[in-house]
């Protein structure tokens, strides 16, 4: 009997590791930017290209920074959630149209609604590189001091908002 128990235990440990591994998303690469100041940039605004926006302008506020594009499928998925969030006025969402032509960005927002307090355009994707963007949509939670607290890769789901992002925003706003 004993000679079967040990292999069985080893098998169960291995199976547990493999099972956990199945649930992991290999596309989610931990960002080294979490806990660091949001990289500075100056980008033109989508609706008023003459005006520039810098993260500095949001100093003292907790905000979400959502990197999206009109060509991105995941963005369509999360869009209604952001619309709802904007309606409830919980936290300002700033959008960055990543590697997208302004007219396409505008068309997309015209069709689905604009949940963003402000949209900037990163046509060449250079600011995206500074933020370590590799798969839009990506969403950052940035605190009052301008520090990135959380990075969400891929489309935000209701669960992500309720379990992680919104509690975090509340906590940071209370500080």
């Amino acid at each position: 009997m004993a000679r079967f128990i040990l292999p069985f235990v080893i098998f169960m440990i291995l199976a547990a590791f493999l099972f956990v591994g199945l649930g992991l998303n290999p596309r989610e690469v931990p960002s080294p930017l979490v806990g660091k100041p949001a990289p500075a940039f100056m980008l033109p605004q989508l609706y008023e290209p003459a005006k520039q926006f810098s993260p500095q302008d949001m100093q003292g506020k907790v905000w979400l920074f959502n990197v999206w594009a009109s060509w991105c499928g995941g963005c369509e998925q999360e869009h209604p959630l952001f619309m709802e969030l904007a309606r409830r006025n919980v936290v300002p969402i700033l959008g960055m149209a990543y590697k997208d032509q302004p007219e396409n960005s505008k068309m997309w927002l015209h069709r689905g609604g604009n949940p963003y307090a402000l949209v900037v355009t990163d046509i060449e994707g250079r600011v995206g590189i500074d933020y370590g963007v590799y798969g839009v949509p990506e969403t950052y939670v940035i605190d009052k001091q301008g520090i990135i607290r959380h990075k969400h890769i891929g489309a935000v789901t209701m669960q992500d908002l309720d379990k992680k992002i919104l509690p975090m925003v509340k906590e940071l706003q209370a500080k």
Binding site: P26, R27, V29, P30, S31, P32, L33, K99, E124, G125, R126, G128, I129, D130, Y131, G132, V133, Y134, G135
Partner: protein, 174 residues
Amino acid sequence: MRYLLIPLLCLLPVFCYADEAKDMAADPVLERRMIGLAEKLRCLVCQNESLASSHSELAEDLRREVREQMQKGMNDQEIIDYLVARYGDFVLYDPPVKKTTLVLWYGPFALLLIGAGVLVYQLRKRKGQIAETELSPAEAQRAAEMLGESQEMPGQPPTKRPAKRPNKPKDLQT
């Protein structure tokens, strides 16, 4: 006509060979240096491709970035640090030894040691189980006979048959 067309159609794929990533720098030396470095870096979009071979847009942008930094005179290490600061150690195909990568680097050796330990333990245990028994004089003699026999007939199991040489080919027997 048809017989000519088929081999010609077979030749068609010749024209669509896999191309190297586009937008090369004007300077071929710099381009080679960039490709050399990009081969050591991982593309985050198609995760098992290097930055040099990936055709994803991000890889193209990052190659552009690397190229520009090389033109600015940054050395390879500075460029690697630049990318790691943004994308993390994940971009490196050769991850550094750190607290979080200890298992990755030394895990295999630890497993090897555990395996060797188990082997030694099992061999010791087995040695204790194999009892050494003294042979009685009769058994010793029988064993000697068998061994003597088996020396003469290497291919045969040691049995008590009379000592002749059955394995010798018949046509050689006198």
